[in-house]
């Protein structure tokens, strides 16, 4: 069964450093998402991506963050100048074409645990 994969599973970084979290969505999917879950809290939407551009972003997704689909398979989240409060689980998700009456669910990857020291 096709699945979303994410690497690394755990990333430890020093405050102020840049990190890149990688995701490989399911191959025929068109919509891509990043979510964040701070430990013990709810999952929060960060950004959605479609047709090689950002579709929507939340208030969390400020200039510190960027996303890219560099090679048609990977989908990356870059966090510049990391802060302690960026420590969280980051989930990638993808979905196929959807519309009213033709629903396709989002498939989640296993997540990357980011620890900022």
């Amino acid at each position: 069964e096709p699945e979303v994969t994410q690497t690394p599973s755990h990333q430890v970084t020093q405050m102020g450093q840049e990190v890149i979290l990688r995701c490989v969505p399911i191959s025929n999917h068109l919509y891509f998402y990043w979510y964040r879950q701070i430990l013990g809290q709810k999952v929060e939407f960060l950004v959605s991506f479609y047709n090689n551009e950002i579709s929507e972003k939340s208030e969390i997704f400020d200039d510190q963050f960027s996303v890219e689909r560099p090679d048609g398979s990977n989908f990356t989240l870059k966090i510049r100048s990391t802060k302690l409060e960026d420590s969280a689980m980051y989930f990638c998700a993808s979905r196929g074409p959807f519309s009213r009456g033709n629903y396709n669910e989002q498939f989640f990857g296993p997540g990357t645990r980011l620890t900022v020291l």
Binding site: Y31, Y33, Y35, Q37, Q41, K42, V43, E44, F45, S48, Y50, S55, E56, S58, M89, F91, A93, R95, F98, S99, R100, Y103, E105, Q106, F108, P110, G111, R113
Partner: protein
Amino acid sequence: AQTVTQSQPEMSVQEAETVTLSCTYDTSESDYYLFWYKQPPSRQMILVIRQEAYKQQNATENRFSVNFQKAAKSFSLKISDSQLGDAAMYFCAHDVIYGGSQGNLIFGKGTKLSVKP
């Protein structure tokens, strides 16, 4: 704004018994989807069950069923014959597909379910 509220931070059930997790939501849309996700200690997000708002019939997946009350904006999850493997965080989520939205999931804060042997 769309919101999802889970009023039970923690619940406990005896193995083989039945438990109901509560969820309410707020939306001005008439066309949407509701979900329950399970998050075990591995923190993987696993879709348990899905309900389309236009369907009056409550969704069922094996031991999992929902009670969807559209007018009351209520969406509870019933787990029958609880098993030790059901112990996890359960998140209620809401997905709206309208206009230019790419269907970003909105999550509640979660309910931690413990199953006693």
